[in-house]
């Protein structure tokens, strides 16, 4: 195979790419140094920025997108991305287990419940149409895709509106949720018995139980709980089982055909399995870096929290005199690990608030996450840095291209993005927060979300196949 890249090897072109990459990196460096000069406590923001840049670069380098993991398996039989994600899951779980032994873990498990399947399915269905998951859309925006930016905007605003919506939606709330929400004795300004999402949270989600496998199995040693309960049982064994299933269902036949020696047996299948795992160097490397970095971020955040004597960025903002965006508990959203969607909902919520909407009368913003201005939202800086990191990598590899979508692609992006936003709120997170960050921390709820996401993705692929065939039959000189 001949691999050529014509037209971008001239000096000017090479320089402009380097200049572009340096400008993006320079912007984040200026933000970090300038904020540090104002107050060293802004280092907390810089940590989010630094990890965001690493995630963005890795995601772009490995074309790391959970939407494509599910979609490419069902639509074109390509397992590379699903394999990359499982590599990242294994690595992330091991690093997290080691980090947790230092006493540094800010992880909060999600409750176990059917809501994960429903939220995952809505999210998974939506992401097939947008072409990217929540983190995938960020990195694709960094490659210059305006459609991906539309996805990010749509999922941000749909979340912000959804968590505050009441009216006709209230009619769908079971009476038991309303009663349970009312019994929680929440502050009056939250009006918890009004609004679907408030009652969903206070009347349903808060009543469910959370599980961390390491604790649930009662290991006496913290190391055994972390490495055997949380990493091995909750992450590594399920990931290996999924990889074995993917090999059997999508890779084995092609591999045996290509061997041409007719050999079978365990050794042959193990060799085939290994070839599948290592088939895409880029994806495997990205999975490796993402897994390790995601684990390290938990440790770094905890170290910084200790250094500044805080438990949440809200305290830091309070100390710095920026209190207007804090929740009723004086907190802001601050997971301390790789997370996408909630911070974007905050960004959209802040915009809507500037336009005159009252979004503080709900649990999501008012009680739990706050509504800080985007520049005082550390986790939104992470999202921005993911876009920036991806842009740097794309520019360095001559892959950055500003692309405006056609009307068709824009409609898919917005509709899919809206569904992703609703799915993320029902499922209490996205492919990152509700899956990647949970299963790797001993919380099995992420596998439930993943099952829903896979089912939603499968239905989405069926629909999309039908749509494309119908469209191609109309538009191309040759029939598909």
């Amino acid at each position: 195979m001949e691999m050529t890249a014509s037209g971008h090897t001239g000096m000017n072109s090479g320089r402009s790419h380097l200049l572009g990459a340096a400008s993006v990196l320079g912007f984040f460096l200026v933000v970090c140094f300038w904020s540090y000069a104002i107050d060293p406590r802004y280092l907390y923001f810089s940590a989010y920025i630094a990890f965001g840049l690493i995630y963005g670069m890795s995601l772009q380098y490995g074309r790391f997108c959970m939407a494509s993991a599910i979609r490419d398996l069902f639509a074109v039989g390509v397992p590379r991305m699903a394999v990359g994600i499982m590599i990242a899951v294994v690595l992330f779980s091991l690093v997290t287990a080691a980090v947790s032994l230092t006493g540094a873990s800010s992880f909060h498990p999600s409750p176990i419940g059917l809501y994960s399947v429903v939220g995952g399915a809505i999210f998974g269905f939506g992401m097939v149409f947008t072409g990217g998951c929540a983190s995938g859309s960020l990195y694709k925006a960094g490659e210059g895709s305006v459609a991906a930016l539309l996805v990010v905007a749509a999922l941000s605003f749909s979340q912000a509106v959804f968590v505050d919506a009441g009216g006709p939606l209230d009619a769908l709330v079971p009476a038991a949720w309303t009663a349970s929400a009312e019994a929680k004795g929440m502050p009056e300004q939250l009006t918890v018995t009004k609004g679907w999402y408030d009652q969903f949270l206070a009347g349903y989600i808060w009543d469910l139980k959370t599980v961390r496998v390491g604790e649930a199995l009662g290991f006496s040693s913290p190391a055994a709980a972390a490495f055997i309960g949380n990493a091995l049982i909750t992450s590594i064994l399920p990931a290996l089982a999924i990889l074995a299933f993917i090999y059997y269902r999508w890779y084995r036949k092609g591999y045996l055909k290509q061997r041409k020696d007719g050999a079978t047996g365990l050794g042959v299948h193990l060799a085939g399995w290994w070839r599948m795992v290592t088939a895409s160097r880029r994806t495997a490397i990205a999975g490796l870096v993402l897994g390790i970095a995601a684990g390290l971020q938990i440790w770094v955040t905890q170290m910084l929290q200790k250094k500044f004597g805080i438990g949440n960025a809200g305290e830091l903002l309070q100390g710095l005199g920026h209190t207007s965006g804090l929740s009723l508990q004086d907190t802001v959203f601050d997971p301390g690990y790789f997370y996408v969607t909630t911070q974007e909902a905050q960004g959209a919520g802040w915009v809507l608030e500037q336009l005159g909407m009252n979004l503080r009368d709900n649990i999501f913003f008012g009680l739990e996450n706050g509504l800080p201005a985007p520049w005082f939202n550390p986790v939104l800086w992470l999202s921005l840095a993911v876009i920036g990191g991806s842009a740097v990598m794309a520019l360095l590899n001559h892959e950055f291209k500003l692309k405006f979508p056609s009307l068709e692609v824009a409609v898919w992006a917005i509709c899919g993005g809206i569904l992703m936003g609703i799915g993320a709120r029902v499922g209490m997170g996205c492919n990152i927060g509700a899956f990647f960050a949970t299963v790797t921390n001993g919380d099995p709820s992420g596998w439930i979300f993943a099952a829903g996401m896979t089912a939603g993705g499968w239905v989405g692929v069926k629909f999309f196949n039908w749509w494309i065939e119908r469209k191609m039959a109309k538009e191309t000189p040759l029939e598909f």
Binding site: R63, D72, V76, R80, M81, K401, F480
Partner: protein, 84 residues
């Protein structure tokens, strides 16, 4: 913008999916390759780098050969795939 699948000559086809992001390019490519006979070639034009990774994995799995990969100044990827 619309995907364009056309016959250039006997056994030589072209699929232009520039402007499309995932999952369109890989889905169109799969469907186009299904229509080709063994030995036919497909010239593929696309500009979504992420799809390239999926398309090359798809070709490796199905035994189809990517005989040429060119990227031009406008970031268009021009691949030639021979169906086996």
């Amino acid at each position: 913008m619309a995907a364009k699948f056309e016959k250039l000559a006997e056994g030589n086809y072209q699929l232009d999916v520039q402007g499309y992001a995932c999952p369109h390019p890989q889905l169109y490519t799969k469907k186009a390759l299904e229509k080709l006979k063994p030995g036919d070639t497909l010239k593929l034009l696309f500009d979504n780098p992420s799809s390239g990774e999926s398309i090359s994995a798809m070709c490796a799995n199905d035994g189809n050969e990517i005989v040429e990969q060119v990227r031009d100044a406008g970031k268009t990827l021009r691949w030639t795939i021979r169906k086996h």
